[in-house]
Amino acid sequence: MIYNIPYIAVIILIVVGLYAVVFKRNIIKMVMGITIIESGVNLFLVTLGYRAGGVAPIFTNLPEERQIPGQLVLPIPQALTLTSIVIGVAVLALMLALTIQIYRQYKTLDVTKIRRLKE
């Protein structure tokens, strides 16, 4: 059970994020929703990469009693998460920049009022 808690957190984060994106009317809240989904996915990747009793694959930091091939963890999920975080920052910056420009044009952040594109 204790090992499943992160996965439950992942699901909660993603559902909360999707809820914010779909139902919130404020653009900033939608942006926050996307960021929350992203945190959920990142948490999922990190949780997948967790190995009980594993050691971080830093050669010089290896504990004395362990031999090298021992329990080094292949850090691919962590690498994926880092990449995903970097991409997430870029997307977040772009979305906020767009939000600023939208506010300048429309003088509102309410998506129901930002509707020049119809049909």
Partner: protein
């Protein structure tokens, strides 16, 4: 020569990526120097792609390894996985790369004269080259996570390009919709990658395809991947971002985004036919039927919505939605048909239609851009009688509309007839709907043609002039390709489409190229 071909998969990414960040520096020297540089870079990349294509058609799948060159060079931990990223290029990848690079080239030719009076172009070219890098990367890579990274590069760069006219609220709105859809889509893809990695300890598409078991989690991952990629490819019911983005972006950007959309469609094909390729003959029929249903819905929505639009670019954008549906029913029929003979025909039609759609819709968007450039008008009701003032543009629009509606002897006919023929064998109703929608599309565009170019001259359009040469050249390139593809469909099918279809229908070749056997 040989070493150029060997390294060309890396160079296809590296050259435009490097050029993207040189361009702002060059524009400090002179505007012309920058435009010429971007053109030369894209032409060189295209040439490289053609060389690589020739090699692949002669010698089969090519791979390029970043990192551990030999599978035995493994990490000293318990796992025996070599740390590396592989680019794997087969007939389908190179087919898509040729499409993307051709479109990027045409877009650059067009924008060199379209944006003559605007500033901020140094960054514009940087972003255009980055979109190119993203698309080409998505199509070349053999690694699922790498695919995600390039997907994000494409969406970030194309979102910034859609918002190029920042002083128009509509562009910003469209760009915001696009970034919301594509970032959520990309996160779904990442989640699916997590599911697959958690089960099989691999990210390489070939390795995953080899060990896939069709467990429940695999199916969840498949649904996530398909949902995200069809959303990004603009397939109904998640098509609503597409007409906004296509309609509000500058036309040269639109055709780049059209090509990026096709790159997502490439993702759909790769996932269905290669990643889950083991089930090709067995349990993918349900997925096939779903795709057929979505495709029909897409065609229907696209065409009916195109009927009621008043803006020129939005009409074409909805027609573009409809056209995507044709490719999807092609691919879906191939999956649903399984081992029956017409599966290959359907796939051939669908894959060929990818190229044709980019050319036809691209040409129409460029013509729409030319009209906006010359008249500053977007509303169909305020336009008319342009044929006398803009002769060449009129001819190009005529070619584009006939091609989109699938009229012989143009290229749209060549691929649509394959789709009609094969879907008829799966279920006659599919092909009836497809044909009817095509006719409706013709009616829509004939109406638009009439209201744009024929009829009396409008007083406020008296002093409209033909557009500058660069734009005409760009349209001419697309029109020439349309005519060539239409006149010699057999040759085109044989040289570039058949290898792509063969790559899709034999996933074992893709797997064996990485995992030995060869």
């Amino acid at each position: 020569m040989n070493s150029i071909i060997t390294h060309s998969p890396a160079l296809l990414i590296a050259i435009p990526l490097f050029a993207a960040f040189i361009t702002p520096l060059l524009s400090r020297i002179h505007r012309r120097a920058r435009d010429g540089f971007v053109l030369i870079v894209l032409a060189a990349t295209e040439l490289l792609a053609l060389l690589l294509a020739q090699d692949i058609y002669a010698n089969g799948i090519r791979k390029y390894v970043f990192g551990a060159t030999l599978p035995s060079l493994t990490h000293p931990g318990t796992m025996s996985i070599p740390v590396r990223i592989i680019f794997e290029i087969d007939g389908l990848s190179i087919f898509m790369v040729l499409i993307s690079l051709t479109i990027a080239f045409v877009a650059t030719v067009y924008s060199s004269s379209f944006f003559k009076k605007e500033d901020g172009l140094d960054r514009y070219y940087t972003l255009l080259l980055l979109v190119t890098v993203g698309m080409v990367g998505m199509e070349l890579t053999g690694d699922l996570f790498n695919f995600f990274v390039f997907l994000e590069i494409t969406s970030i760069a194309s979102c910034a390009l859609i918002a190029f006219w920042v002083d128009r609220g509509e562009s910003l709105e469209a760009a915001f919709k696009y970034i919301v859809i594509s970032s959520i889509g990309a996160l779904f893809v990442l989640m699916a990658i997590g599911f697959l990695y958690g089960q099989y300890d691999a990210l390489n598409i070939a390795a995953l395809a080899n060990s896939i078991q069709f467990t429940f989690i695999d199916k969840v991952a498949l649904v996530l991947l398909l949902a995200a990629l069809t959303m990004k490819a603009g397939i109904a019911p998640m098509h609503m971002w597409l007409p906004d983005a296509y309609g509000e972006a500058p036309p040269s950007v639109t055709i780049a985004v059209v090509a990026a959309t096709q790159a997502s469609l490439y993702g759909v094909l790769r996932v269905c036919f290669t990643l889950y390729g083991k089930g090709l003959r067995l349990n993918m029929a349900a997925v096939g039927w779903t795709l057929v249903g979505l495709g029909l819905l897409t065609i229907f929505i696209g065409v009916t919505m195109a009927l009621v639009q008043r803006s020129l670019t939005r009409t074409i954008a909805f027609a573009a939605v409809g056209e995507i549906g044709y490719m999807v029913i092609g691919a879906g029929t191939a999956l649903a048909a399984g081992a029956q003979n017409f599966a290959t025909v359907a796939l051939k039609g669908g894959v060929f239609h990818i190229f044709n759609d980019v050319l036809d819709i691209g040409l129409l968007f460029l013509v729409a851009g030319a009209i906006i450039y010359a008249t500053k008008e977007r509303d169909l009701n305020n336009l008319g009688g342009l044929a006398k003032r803009m002769k060449y543009t009129t001819v190009f629009f005529l070619i584009g509309l006939l091609a989109v509606a699938g009229m012989p002897p143009l290229n749209g006919f060549a691929s649509k007839i394959l789709i009609y023929e094969s879907t008829y064998q799966l279920n006659p109703i599919i092909s009836i709907i497809a044909i009817l929608s095509s006719i409706l599309l013709l009616a829509i565009f004939v109406k638009i043609f009439y209201s744009l170019f024929l009829g009396p001259e409008l007083p406020h359009l008296r002093d409209v002039k033909e557009v500058p040469k660069g734009m005409l050249v760009a349209m001419a390139i697309l029109a020439t390709l349309i005519i060539i593809f239409g006149l010699f469909p057999g040759y085109v099918l044989q040289t570039i489409v058949d290898p792509a279809v063969a790559a899709l229908s034999n996933p074992t070749n893709y797997i064996n190229a990485i995992l030995g056997g060869a």
